[in-house]
């Protein structure tokens, strides 16, 4: 089993939010005993190395210029294929423009539970993950239980 994490290159650098997402995924991997696989699209060797240093054990490097267009249906298809290949049980995105477009779309495709905007590391409770997120525009937090993998 693996934890899959989507990373993004912007202006020649791995986005800081992507490195945080890889680190977040590695913490979940520690809890669950899984390994972290990162998806890097059109990344060069130094960018791949940086993603590895952030905690990814395996990196799927995809070279396809069409995927830089931010077309979320193409990105969704790429991540969906990777998720199936890697037998991923958890998929992590940054809560940014791409993550907000691709993660829900992927959730619909994979029939998988989605928690958007997690603010803390999850807790494993039996077969489900419990994730904390802000609700009511920051007035409160909620612990969500995700009942799928």
């Amino acid at each position: 089993m693996s934890i899959l994490v989507y990373t993004e290159i912007n202006k020649g650098k791995v986005k800081k939010a992507s490195l945080e997402a890889v680190n977040y995924a590695s913490k979940i991997a520690e809890i669950t005993g899984a390994s972290v696989t990162a998806i890097a699209i059109n990344a060069d060797a130094s960018q791949i190395e940086e993603i590895g240093k952030a905690g990814a054990k395996k990196i799927l490097s995809i070279k396809n210029e069409e995927l830089t267009s931010l077309d979320n249906s193409l990105l969704t298809a790429a991540v969906e294929q990777a998720a199936k290949t890697e037998n991923a049980k958890v998929i992590i995105f940054s809560f940014d423009l791409v993550g907000k477009a691709v993660a829900p779309r992927l959730s619909a495709k994979l029939k998988a539970g989605l928690v958007a905007g997690a603010v803390d590391y999850p807790v494993v409770n039996g077969a489900s993950l419990e994730v904390k997120k802000n609700v009511f525009s920051g007035k409160a937090t909620a612990i969500y239980s995700i009942n799928t993998s």
């Binding site: 969704t76 779309r105 998988a112 007035k139 909620a142 969500y144």
Partner: protein, 246 residues
């Protein structure tokens, strides 16, 4: 062009939030509910502008919720929507999007315009979920929209700039600030809202993949803690154990 606008019924922004049943449920007692501002100001108002310019023939509201949300739907009618559908059920974003998608699939809409997020669950996910279920193109957090024939031209903010996107209908978008300006319903709209058709549809299969286990009020602002500039170890420890940012 037929436009579908999914709307949410949310607590007024000034509401004092509290929880019931051992902090497992939102306490609705004494709360005024409103039409989710992002659905109203950005999505619905722009949909009405497209109709007024002759580019759309009909604007339909859709809401997944219980009967007590009818005043919110009528507020959308007062702003000009032609008709509405309430799918009788409650659930998470996945459930809501699946219900909306099923209705949209059966009834054929060219453009589905969601607000960027709801102000209660702040998920930003219903629009993209609908696009995923329908396999339609999706443009998230659009700040401008125009439609000519079957081509939509949109703007969205990206890192360091703005991106102009062209997409073919049918299309799903989530609407962000800049899409339209808030409107106040006029008396004619308020009177007409009472008699506009609202169809009630039973919810389909209940695929709730997430549930809220507990709520907690956020801590208020904490006091500022001063660390001596020569005491980096303490700073690192506090950032790790208290702020939990490293």
């Amino acid at each position: 062009m037929k436009i579908l606008v999914p709307i949410s019924n949310v607590p007024d922004t000034t509401s004092k939030i509290s929880f019931a049943n051992n902090d497992t449920e939102f306490n609705k007692s004494g709360i005024t509910f409103i039409l989710n501002p992002y659905d109203e100001w950005y999505a619905l108002v722009r949909a009405m502008e497209l109709k007024e310019s002759g580019k759309a023939e009909k604007v339909t509201l859709i809401h997944v919720g219980l009967a007590d949300s009818e005043p919110t739907i009528r507020k959308g009618f007062a702003l000009g929507a032609d008709d509405g559908v309430r799918i009788d059920g409650e659930g998470d974003a996945y459930f809501v999007a699946e219900q909306v998608s099923n209705y949209a699939k059966e009834n054929g809409y060219d453009l589905i315009m969601a607000g960027k997020e709801t102000i209660n669950y702040n998920g930003s996910s219903v629009g993209a979920l609908i696009a995923g279920f329908l396999d339609y193109p999706f443009v998230s957090l659009a700040t401008k929209l125009d439609v000519e024939g079957t081509t939509a031209t949109l703007e969205q903010d990206i890192d360091g700039g703005t991106q102009i996107v062209e997409a073919q209908l049918p299309l799903v978008i989530s609407c962000a600030k800049g899409m339209a300006e808030q409107r106040i319903p006029n008396m004619k709209g308020i009177m007409a809202a009472r008699t506009k058709p609202l169809t009630i549809v039973a919810a389909g299969q209940n695929n709730n993949f997430t549930n809220v286990k507990s709520f907690a009020l956020s801590a208020g602002r904490t006091t500022c803690k001063m660390i001596d500039e020569n005491n980096m170890d303490e700073l690192v420890q506090l950032l790790h154990t208290e702020a939990k940012v490293i």
